[in-house]
């Protein structure tokens, strides 16, 4: 949370330009094309009719690649200081725990429904 002490306007602008503005535009175009290709790939997974483990693995790989490129380049995360990177990217790791708990819970609910209510149609 810098910039509380007033700086001369031009100096501040030059500072910002050095920090961010001078990433060559080419980086964005490359990532843009890459995101298009990755989206086309994940759409192809459905088009080609992959099923089961292959399907889920491919979907997750393409998803994380896309998310990673958006966060790293478009959101400038790779040029931030490590403290900000950790403060933002570490907390979501807790979600692994939530997902794990809910997978167990849903298995339990599923078998409760099947065994005690005889509701299986699939």
């Amino acid at each position: 949370m810098a910039h509380e002490t007033p700086e001369p306007a031009t100096e501040a602008a030059a500072d910002h330009a050095n920090e961010h503005g001078l990433h060559p535009l080419g980086v964005y175009f490359k990532i843009w094309i890459l995101l298009f290709v990755l989206s086309a790939c994940s759409y192809y997974v459905d088009w080609a009719g992959f099923e089961g483990f292959t399907r889920w693995t491919l979907i997750v790989i393409f998803m994380f690649l896309k998310a990673g490129f958006i966060v790293a380049v478009f959101m400038h995360m790779m040029w931030e200081r490590m403290l900000l990177i950790l403060a933002i990217l570490a907390p979501p790791l807790l979600l692994i725990g939530l997902v794990g708990i809910m997978v167990l819970e849903s298995e339990y609910t599923f078998w409760t429904r099947v065994i005690f209510f005889g509701l299986f149609e699939g």
């Binding site: 990532i31 380049v73 200081r81």
Partner: protein, 228 residues
């Protein structure tokens, strides 16, 4: 300023050094970062958890239901020239959102170059692409509602499908709509020259963070809800 020597980067030991010195100086921790940017990131982090709750509850419903889940490939297919193309509209929406993310990234860049006209037009393009995304979503909702999908049931399969669909895509659509208004506001302020006095175009980047986040969430919705 010695701080300038140890600037940004993820390069291992050096990064850890900046981490320790940032946290141990008994003052502000997020150095050389605009306060608005930190606040936006923290907001986006909290929003990540909101969307994660939706997606996790969707996962829980889908894996605990005893009725087969509707085949999204068929539910979301469009008939073009007599042939049914699976997920066509969703694919178009995905490409539109990625395109808008690209124009936004360029807008941020031109903002820092202090090219107000280009920044304005790129942000305007981003907002228009966003608005067309919302339009397509409205079309998709109408189609599904006409086919009888309701939050409490549908004839394709598990009744929880409707609840998940309307909740997740609705909340995402709300984010896109708010983003369009937000981007237009900032774009017109850029054009007017409101940020010239301070020469501070971080506002464009902060708006960009929000917009890229909307795209980011769609990546997960596309993978988990539509493709899974």
């Amino acid at each position: 300023m010695t701080d300038h020597a140890e600037t940004e980067g993820v390069d291992g030991i050096h990064g850890v050094k900046t981490l320790v010195s940032d946290l141990s100086t008994d003052q502000e921790a997020f150095k050389q970062v605009h306060w608005g940017k930190v606040m936006m990131w923290i907001f986006l982090l909290s929003d990540t958890f909101v969307f994660s709750c939706f997606l996790t509850s969707y996962m829980t419903m889908r894996s605990s239901t005893t009725i087969p889940w509707p085949n999204t490939s068929e539910v979301f297919s469009l008939t073009v020239f007599g042939t049914s193309v699976p997920l066509l509209l969703i694919a178009i929406m995905t490409f539109i959102l990625i395109t808008s993310s690209g124009t936004m990234a360029l807008a941020v860049n031109y903002g820092y170059r202090r090219d107000r006209r280009k920044t304005f037009f790129l942000m305007l393009a981003t907002a228009l692409l966003g608005a067309s995304f919302v339009g397509m979503q409205a079309f998709e909702w109408t189609k599904l509602i006409e086919e009888g999908v309701r939050p409490w049931g549908n004839h394709f399969g598990a009744p929880q499908f409707g609840a998940s669909f309307f909740m997740i895509t609705g909340f995402h659509g709300l984010h896109v709509s708010i983003g369009v208004i937000y981007l237009l506001t900032i774009a017109f302020k850029v054009l007017k020259g409101d940020y010239e006095k301070k020469g501070n175009y971080e506002v464009v980047e902060i708006a960009g963070l929000y917009w890229h986040f909307v795209d980011l969430v769609w990546v997960f919705i596309f993978a988990f809800f539509y493709l899974w």
